[in-house]
């Protein structure tokens, strides 16, 4: 035994004596993880969060979360002698006087953008493949929570330097809180320690940003990962993959190397971004003062949709009985995100109610096989994208030489008109893909080989799909719409159906009435029909026999025979 092996075993025994670690290792060192690239999107979020923790800790050693006004005398010439908060001055110090400070600041900010972006694409992957179904609903909820926390955390983070751009964002945030009915002004004064801007907000935001939200995120990430570990990851359907197994590579050594390597890749990309691309050049914005503003004031990308909502909202306000209800502010900044995140969180439960399916699912759906879910997701993304584009309307206007008023009106119309259109188009697209899969199963794949019959007829030969592709095409559940039981009982009385059940049936109809999926019974019947036809073809018809000889394929011969007979195979 080499020294290393001896040392390793010694450590293992030491720990095992005390916490029984070898039992856990025995079970888990060979744990299998499936290996699709789309399963790594969540990992991008995890690793960028670790980057945030590391760079954030570094920054916290130099940043001063204080709004006390001082006169700057650091090395950035443009602002020497200017009065500014200590927070802003310390940010300038990090950027210009601490070696590697600017790098750490930029890496931190790029990683933050990547963190939320990764969570967003990960959410889309989980949604479109139906990975949120039982038993993973709780994980979905935790993911939605993580996304929400990440957005708040990012906003808090880029507001800490107290520069003109982010300070404007804080002013807008205060205006939003103020507009909340009944409690708005109290909330605003409590949060800011008085009127805006006060002197308490940056230190409070700092604690939220470095302690409270990261703690919550860490807790949720831990629970999220524990569930993924315990429930095992889902996998795409394919040969050898069932609801009862996981196919992939073992934790040690393959997954450790791949996942560990991916961590370094994500980290490296963040650092390279921080090396080569300027982000948040606070020295150009100047310190925050409530009398200055810059053209092109935008929040970071993940808040862009809310800013867009504020820009597109018509100026509705209700003044009655001595009170003001600012719908123009309240709806886009509180109501819309509230509804969106609530619907997002509730979706797994909503879909389960509609399908009535209480079984576990470990094989993922192909998005085309869940046409309404996919279309609903596409519709939601369209809604989000229109709002997001709205948030950058002035940049669009200047760069494409458009009138900003026209842009705003166009986006207002698109916001209402485009999502339903996208829904219909996406659903139709999914259904046509389903039909293509069905045709493949029933008729085989077009080979491009044309057979000319002695009678002058042209036939194209079809090859049947391979076994493994058949598994893929047949994968996924085929649901029938729920039907209301309206048959009257012996006394001629129809059962009473509640409106909730009626809605459920209607939604179920909407989800599943249109589909082209083959059930296993239909496929079996079709295959049997082919087999019979092949037998017949073998007995009679020299053409069919010729086909069989040329292609060596009984099914093709059967198809030819059927075509000759003038019937189509799926008229079973």
């Amino acid at each position: 035994m080499s020294t290393i092996e001896r040392a390793g075993q010694g450590t293992g025994n030491y720990l095992d004596d005390r916490i029984g670690v070898n039992r856990w290792l025995k079970k888990n060192l060979g744990k299998i993880f499936p290996d699709h690239w789309s399963f790594m999107l969540g990992e991008i979020a995890l690793y960028s969060f670790i980057v945030l923790l590391l760079t954030g800790t570094y920054l916290s050693l130099f940043f001063k979360p204080s709004m006390t006004e001082i006169v700057y005398n650091g090395s950035y010439v443009n602002l020497q002698g200017i009065r500014m908060s200590e927070a802003y001055a310390s940010t300038l110090g990090i950027s210009f006087d601490v070696r590697g400070g600017l790098l750490m600041r930029q890496v931190h900010h790029w990683a933050a953008l990547l963190f939320v972006a990764a969570m967003t694409v990960h959410l889309c992957r989980v949604f479109f493949t139906g990975a949120f179904r039982k038993p993973r609903e709780l994980n979905w909820l935790m993911g939605v929570g993580l996304l929400t926390l990440g957005i708040f955390e990012g906003f808090a983070g880029y507001s800490l330097p107290d520069d003109l751009l982010s300070g404007t964002g804080l002013r807008i945030a205060e205006g939003i809180v103020q507009a909340i009915p009944i409690v708005g002004t109290y909330l605003a004064f409590f949060i800011f320690g008085g009127p805006f801007p006060g002197s308490d907000f940056i230190p409070r935001l700092y604690i939220v940003h470095v302690l409270l939200i990261p703690g919550a995120i860490l807790g949720l990430i831990t629970a999220h990962l524990m569930l993924v570990w315990f429930q095992k990851h889902t996998q795409f359907p394919g040969p050898g993959r069932t609801e009862k197994n996981v196919v992939g590579y073992p934790l040690m050594p393959v997954y450790m190397a791949k996942a560990g390597g991916f961590f370094f890749v994500v980290f490296g990309v963040c650092v390279l971004l921080g090396a080569a691309v300027t982000i948040n050049p606070v020295w150009l914005f100047g310190p925050y003062t409530p009398t200055q503003i810059t053209a092109g004031s935008q929040p970071d990308w993940y808040i862009g949709w809310l800013d867009g909502a504020l820009r597109l909202m018509p100026n509705w306000e209700i003044n009655a009985f001595g009170h003001t209800l600012s719908l123009n502010v309240f709806i886009p900044s509180v109501v819309i995100p509230g509804i969106c995140f609530t619907l997002l969180g509730l979706y797994p439960f909503l879909e389960q109610w509609i399908t009535g399916d209480r079984r576990e699912h470990h094989l993922l759906d192909r998005p085309r096989n869940a046409a309404v879910r996919t279309a609903a997701g596409a519709m939601a993304i369209t809604f989000y994208l229109v709002l997001w584009i709205g948030g950058g309307n002035d940049v669009i206007a200047t760069h494409f030489a458009l009138s900003i008023n026209t842009v705003i009106w166009t986006l207002r119309v698109l916001l209402l008109v485009l999502p339903p259109i996208v829904f219909v188009i996406t659903k139709r697209f999914c259904l046509s893909l389903q039909r293509r899969d069905r045709d493949k199963l029933l008729h085989g794949i077009e080979t491009g080989t044309i057979l000319r019959m002695p009678s002058g007829e042209f036939l194209e030969l079809h090859a049947p799909v391979s076994e493994s592709e058949k598994v893929l095409l047949m994968a996924g559940d085929r649901y029938e719409p729920l039907e209301l039981d309206t048959t009257p009982d012996d006394n001629g009385v129809s059962p009473r159906v509640s409106s909730v059940d009626r809605i459920r049936a209607k939604l179920s109809q909407a989800y599943f009435a249109d589909q082209f999926r083959l059930s296993p019974e239909e496929l079996a019947a079709a295959e049997e029909h082919h087999a019979h036809a092949a037998l017949d073809a073998g007995q009679g018809g020299e053409t069919a026999g010729a086909v069989a000889a040329v292609t060596g394929d009984g099914e093709a011969a059967a198809l030819t025979a059927a075509a000759q007979a003038g019937s189509s195979p799926d008229q079973a």
Binding site: D35, H36, W37, S38, F39, L41, E43, I44, N78, L79, Q80, G81, I82, S95, L102, Q106, W110, L113, L114, A117, A118, L164, L165, K258, G261, F262, V265, V266, V269, L273, A276, V277, T278, I279, N280, P281, L284, F285, G286, T291, Q292, I293, T294, A295, G296, Q298, P299, D300, W301, G304, G391, G392, N393, V395, A397, L402, S403, I404, N405, T406
Partner: protein, 271 residues
Amino acid sequence: MRTSSVTRPSRATQARRHPWAFVVLIGLALVMVGGLYTVLGSASAAQADATNPDTIQQGHALFLEGCSSCHGLNAQGVNGRGPSLIGVGAADVDFQVGTGRMPAATYNVPQVERRTVQYSQAEIDAMAAYVASLAPGPSVPSFSDLDLTGANLQAGGELFRTNCAQCHNFAGEGGALTLGKYAPSLTGSTPRHIWEAMLVGPQSMPKFPNTTITPLQKRDIIFYLTTVRAQPNPGGLSLGRVGPVSEGLFLWVVGLGVVIAVAVWIGAKSS
């Protein structure tokens, strides 16, 4: 240089005129004219020319040819086409024509755009002189007006952020106004044109006369703008100095793109 075989002049003329006298005289005249031109011409050529009736006449001719169709034969303006130029001053003409905005290709636009400059500086000076002769108005900046020695960079920044950034953005990259109008990017503007724009308030831009922004403050602002646009971007690629919109776009396309590409590489079967 070979001397030509010229008849030697008589003793009387020889005493009065040196063989080189003519050459020296021409040389002196050239030096004097050139010197005068250097002293008076470069700094305030327009001012010097503005009072010259020939310059004004040349300007008038250029005006009739290139400007009167929209601004009227007497620069009184034509309804729906061009405003009156009476009282706008030489500075406005120098700015509009000097940045190529005038002559406008069409007047049916929300805002006239910068184009290639159509006239030489001398012609612009002439037209400016003509317009200035119609009625008193802001004049072009003098050499000392644009002398940035001793200008205060930090004060210029404060003034820029208070008066200019709301339309032109924190780095002078420009911004949107209503109905298709815009505040243009200042990254290519000369100090002269910046001064004139502040003074004159072209198109939608407000006027900042010397009582609102003093000449000293104008110099500070010009100094800040010309310094900032020449300064390095310490963090790397500037992405246009437009703010979070371009940063978010870059992240989604490049940042996320690269990372997902690596993920696809990880998941792919290897040979």
